[in-house]
């Protein structure tokens, strides 16, 4: 047990150290990625080598780059299926035997194939990733019996999550094509007419070409990794083929804005979106956006309290509502979203208070202390997402492929620290003067229009 005197002795020290802004260099060592290249494949690795390791293959083939709807989903679901050398069942059993795990996911920009394993098994898993990338069989029956069924289940799950539908709709309002493509095509999209195994195989050839992928490792030795990657990734094509099914070219994202209303029985959600901050290193990187996102907040980071965040305070009285503010960062754009979901009438009135607090932030009626708290939280989130594997691997791989700076933890911390109160205020003001993207999903008779909320679309 801590005695009371121990707490009182340490508390001032905590404040002092927070105030003295310790340099990040000491904290950041061990979090930097070594960047290299082996057999033409871009490679980033984070040492020290430990007892377990993780490597991920990041391919620039997410829904933004897919030639037709559903291709990224299909390619992701085809990962770790039968290859020319062995069947899907054998891959699963072998990985089980080694105590490793593999998974595949895709986001709007990337497909990520991730493996985790005991350090000794590094060569096996590098070979497995190379095999998946270059030698997957794509037989027709796997599409019919497995992939399209999984895709249908995914569509059902999406249709029953109003918040996800609203976030997808907000993206398509904000960016139209490209980033606006929904992550998984909804059940109403005629995606089957283009989706065939030959087409997916052709898409895969370009998606997993050397120029289009990056390998990101963590906890493995850099020299070992580059040696094995050099051995196994030789067989990959250097550049994609040209044809109907190659990934879409990288058209710069442009922000449009607008309003969309979708009725569903699954629940209620309103997403209010504004142009936000791009990924670190991109030209659209605006640290003020992440501070504003933390300031608006909604979900407390500490239990049993509404938290300091403006939305958390504003929605304190509503018992059936979930409010979050998030900045979706992409390689050349970003989207700052305020999502509210829950009971229809409460979502409607919470939407109004959300816009009110944003107006308050734009008018500069926020206490300096709240902004300080928000910038500390924003800094913590940026650093944490770089440190944890789930987000850090993809962010690093994406930065490598797109040729911008790889995640430099020290610089991220500095740029968030340097955000001033006036910058946050100006940023909020610019959001309100520009166009918003408002997506309402659910019981439309009760959900508000953007003009009711006081937003221009």
């Amino acid at each position: 047990m801590l005695s009371r005197s121990a707490i009182s002795r340490n508390a001032p020290r905590a404040f002092q150290s927070a105030a003295s802004h310790r340099g990040m260099a000491s904290a950041a060592s061990g979090l930097q990625y070594d960047v290299s290249e082996a057999a033409g494949v871009k490679l980033a690795n984070r040492e020290p080598a430990g007892v377990t390791g993780t490597i991920a293959l990041v391919a620039k083939a997410g829904s933004r780059y897919q030639p037709f709807p559903g291709f990224s989903d299909a390619l992701e679901l085809f990962a770790f299926q039968s290859t020319l050398k062995r069947s899907a069942l054998r891959i699963t059993r072998e990985v089980e035997l080694l105590g490793g795990e593999f998974s595949s996911t895709h986001s709007r920009e990337n497909i990520v194939l991730k493996t985790k394993f005991l350090a000794n098994d590094l060569p096996y898993f590098v070979e497995l990733l190379a095999e998946v990338a270059s030698q997957t069989k794509y037989p027709g029956y796997e599409l019919d019996e497995l992939v399209s069924k999984l895709l249908k289940l995914r569509q059902v799950a999406l249709a029953n999550n109003p918040e996800a539908v609203a976030v997808d709709a907000a993206h398509s309002l904000a960016f139209h094509q490209g980033l606006g493509e929904s992550i998984t095509p909804s059940a109403h999209v005629p995606y089957e007419k283009n989706l065939s195994t030959e087409a997916v195989a052709e898409f895969a050839k370009s998606a997993y070409a050397k120029s289009n992928i990056a390998l990101v490792g963590s906890g493995v030795s850099s020299s070992e990794l580059s040696k094995w990657v050099g051995d196994f990734f030789k067989g990959l094509p250097t550049a994609g083929t040209s044809g109907q099914y190659q990934p879409k070219s990288n058209a710069a994202s442009k922000y449009y804005g607008g309003e969309q209303r979708i009725s569903t029985k699954a629940g209620n959600a309103v997403v209010i979106a504004f142009p936000g901050s791009g990924a670190f290193g991109a030209s659209a990187y605006k640290p003020a956006a992440s501070v504003l996102a933390a300031l608006l907040g909604g979900e407390p980071s500490i239990k049993w309290t509404p938290g300091f965040s403006l939305l958390g305070q504003a929605t304190q009285g509503f018992s059936h509502i979930r409010a979050t503010t998030k900045n979706y960062a992409y390689s050349d754009a970003g989207l700052l979203t305020i999502s509210l979901s829950g009971k229809a009438e409460q979502v409607a009135s919470a939407g109004k208070s959300a816009v009110d607090v944003l107006k308050k932030a734009a008018a500069g009626e926020i206490s300096a202390e709240d902004i300080k708290k928000a910038s500390a939280l924003a800094k913590f989130r940026a650093l944490e997402s770089a440190q944890t594997l789930e987000t850090g691997l993809e962010a690093t791989g994406s930065a490598l492929i797109n040729g911008s700076k790889p995640y430099q933890i020290g610089e991220v911390a500095q740029s968030v620290d340097s955000v001033t109160e006036a910058q946050v205020k100006d940023f909020a003001k610019s959001l309100l003067s520009g166009k918003a993207s408002v997506a309402s999903v659910g019981d439309l008779s009760q959900l508000p229009y953007a003009s009711d909320l006081g937003l221009t679309v």
């Binding site: 069947s87 069942l89 054998r90 059993r93 027709g140 029956y141 019919d144 019996e145």
Partner: protein, 123 residues
């Protein structure tokens, strides 16, 4: 699905193969299914998981043609007629289209049985 056969034994020995080929051709023709417009793989018994899965994996056009041949043969059988010689299956048309898929599925099943080799024994 397959019964034990001497085929592999014979095919590996050129002399034996040269002797047996005319006999085999005569035998297949005498079996009479070609006169009803069928192919050898149309005769595979369908009543098993494996063959059902294989039929599902056929390309749509091939599956359609298969049903067409079977129904035509059925009509011939009911009316006790043979097809006119022009419509009968030619030897070069009589190729395996289902058996390769069946063999692949059998291989998958065998692999699954080998890998899932935990057997619960009751005492």
């Amino acid at each position: 699905m397959s019964a034990p056969s001497l085929t592999n034994f014979i095919v590996k020995r050129p002399l034996l193969k040269r002797w047996m080929t005319p006999i085999a051709n005569w035998y297949v023709d005498a079996a009479g299914y070609r006169k009803l417009g069928l192919r050898i793989d149309d005769l595979v018994p369908e009543e098993s998981e494996t063959v059902q899965t294989a039929i599902k994996r056929l390309p749509p056009k091939v599956a359609y043609d298969r049903i067409f041949r079977i129904r035509r043969a059925f009509q011939c059988s009911i009316s006790h007629t043979l097809l006119p010689p022009a419509e009968q299956t030619k030897p070069h048309e009589d190729v395996e289209y289902l058996s390769p898929i069946i063999r692949e599925i059998e291989k998958e099943n065998k692999e699954r049985a080998d890998l899932d080799n935990l057997v619960v024994k009751r005492r």
